[in-house]
């Protein structure tokens, strides 16, 4: 093997490794996040319309529509960012409940829908950037 061939093989290998790292550290797609956030709204609407049976279908639809992970990088994810991501969903649930109370207190219709909308906004505004940080923290 000559030196040019060796250099080219090394460059090719580095390029391919970067492809995997880029795929493994990419933030979740907008599509996946919108589906996740939309699920909160749909859940609220289903409750307000007294169609609780729809929730089961909703869960199946969200799981089916969500994209699958294509690359799992080596190493453990950052515990701090993982905790922050979990906290985002807890905050979203708390926001949901708080908005529901406020809407019920104001005697407005569809409190679950408003709660779901607020939770969806929280998930989009907080969850996606935190998930992007969590993914980026895995970059070797």
């Amino acid at each position: 093997m000559d030196i040019h061939e060796a250099r080219s093989a090394l460059a090719e290998s580095q390029h391919r490794q970067q492809q995997t790292i880029a795929a493994g550290t990419a933030p979740g797609s907008w599509r996946a996040w919108l589906i996740g956030a939309g699920a909160f709204v749909a859940y609220g609407v289903a409750l307000d319309l007294d169609m609780v049976w729809l929730v089961g279908l909703l869960v199946v639809a969200v799981v089916a529509a969500g994209g699958r992970t294509l690359v799992k990088l080596r190493g453990k994810p950052s515990p701090g960012w993982t905790a922050a991501l979990v906290a985002t969903f807890v905050i979203a649930l708390l926001v949901d409940v708080a908005v529901q109370f406020a809407v019920r207190g104001a005697d407005l219709p569809a409190p679950n829908t408003f709660g779901g909308l607020a939770a969806a906004l929280t998930v989009i505004l907080l969850g996606r950037p935190i998930h992007a940080r969590l993914a980026a923290a895995r970059r070797p």
Binding site: A6, L10, E12, S13, R16, Q17, A23, G24, V71, R74
Partner: protein
């Protein structure tokens, strides 16, 4: 002295596959196929050869709707790292910095 190159790894398709697998715990079959812009059957053939050599392992991922994923084995990782080391030493030697 430069260690001998693993001729088995030293083919463009196999080198691409091993390089794509190296930073990952596992990758989806579809990711490999799209990354190297090949067909399902051509990739399957390469993976079968690598699997027979003990370099990679294919498995069905239950958490991903039973789709196929691929990972590097310890033997494959060692062979890949040895191959890269040999290349780096070859390049270093040409610069006059190698041992």
């Amino acid at each position: 002295m430069v260690p001998p190159l693993d001729e088995f790894v030293h083919t463009p398709a196999r080198l691409s596959i091993l390089s794509l697998l190296a930073p990952a715990e596992w990758v989806a079959f579809s990711f490999l196929r799209d990354a190297i812009a090949t067909t399902d059957s051509a990739l399957s053939k390469q993976l079968k050869t690598l699997e027979e050599a003990g370099y990679v392992k294919s498995f069905k991922d239950r958490s991903a709707r039973r789709s196929t994923s691929v990972r590097l084995t310890e033997q494959g990782r060692t062979a890949f790292e040895d191959y890269l080391n040999a290349l780096e030493q070859l390049v270093a030697r040409s610069r006059g910095t190698g041992t």
